[in-house]
Amino acid sequence: MIIYIAGVLIIAGLFFFLVGSIGMIRLPDFYSRLHSAGIIDTMGLLLSMSGLALLILNEFNLGNFLSAIKIILIIVFIFLTSPTATHAIVDAGIRAGLKPWEKKQ
């Protein structure tokens, strides 16, 4: 049972990776591309990592449990670092004077 949930989560995570990647190509300017890069960092990572953590727990013992916790920790750390990095990049873009794309009216 756990295996199937994990499998679904991993596939869903891959799907979000795909979505984020497509967004990174299609969106017109840097700032909006960052939004879709955010999908990779958040949803993609969250789902696939949870899937992998569940997969580890399939064969339960202390070592595997700790490994699962470590995977969760990875998610936590990336959830901390990713917005910081994004913020830093955007800040850099604004300071560098990069104008956001605007819809032509």
Partner: protein, 274 residues
């Protein structure tokens, strides 16, 4: 130059590709490299050193002499960067200060800057306003990075990692601190002098262990002679000896990474920088 480069790489590349044809296939278990020497390491690491991580045991015991000089290479790099870049600037002609209560930036020329004042805070000449997001996140993360690094150092016997990796991660944590706040704050915590002395200490721990083995026993770096000192049998003495030198490597590498960063990021002035 471009043409020369192209010709060179075409020649060399052709030669190299040509000679790959005789290679054993990728991942061939029967290749000479896999059957001559390495089986010894794989099969004897537990008996000889009680370290499951073969890479660690080979790195810090069988070929520990290499690793000592690897650490020395790092030391050399640190010294080299220091020697090349460091400009000891006793006098800074122009300094910028932030008056913290009002947020006004003031410029002082010569040595008329306020010494030991609480309200004035030294800022870089190309100052960026205090970014709370980055600063806070980094402050939070540095601990985890450091504890993780120490974990990596301590568990080099059982899982990937070891002194070098751990040392780099600690170094990176302090570099992160320097980036997130500013260079001077970081130097205040761990100055250049401390970095240099840590570097030397790290290599000294390694080489000193080796010399101790030589003094007590027979060969340089033969940890099994440390057994009476450590109070264990000879095999465990090797394991602990590996641990000791890993600590030495970690200390040296950490300090050198920081030292090189200080010098590179401030172009040797160690005053203000990236």
């Amino acid at each position: 130059m471009k043409i020369l480069g192209t010709i060179t790489i075409l020649l060399c590349g052709g030669l190299l590709i040509f000679f790959t044809s005789d290679f054993p296939d990728f991942g061939d278990p029967k290749s000479p490299a896999s059957i001559h020497l390495s089986p010894y390491f794989i099969e004897h690491t537990l008996e000889d050193t009680a370290v499951p991580n073969i890479v660690t045991s080979v790195l810090a015991d069988y070929r520990s002499y290499d690793t000592m000089f690897e650490t020395t290479v790092i030391l050399t790099a640190g010294l080299a960067c220091f020697l090349l870049l460091r400009i000891p600037t006793k006098e800074v002609t122009r300094r910028y200060y932030l008056h913290e209560p009002t947020g006004v930036t003031l410029r002082f020329d010569g040595d008329r800057y306020p010494k030991g004042s609480n309200v004035f805070k030294r800022i870089d000449s190309n100052w960026v306003p205090y970014d709370i997001i980055i600063n806070f996140t980094c402050r939070l993360l540095i601990h985890f990075i450091q504890i993780f690094a120490l974990y990596v150092v301590a568990h080099g016997h059982y899982s990937p990692g070891g002194g070098f990796q751990g040392g780099v991660v600690i170094g990176a944590s302090i570099i992160l601190f320097a980036i997130s706040s500013n260079l001077r704050a970081s130097i205040k915590r761990l100055g250049e002098k401390a970095a240099a002395i840590f570097t030397a200490t790290g290599v000294f721990i390694y080489a000193g262990t080796g010399a101790l083995c030589m003094v007590i026993g027979e060969h340089f770096l033969n940890y099994s002679f440390l057994a009476p000192l450590l109070g264990t049998d000879r095999i465990m003495a090797r394991s602990h000896g590996i641990f000791i030198v890993e600590i030495g490597v970690a200390v040296a590498v950490m300090a050198v990474m920081i030292w090189i960063y200080y010098n590179l990021s401030s172009a040797g002035k160690q005053d203000e920088g990236l």
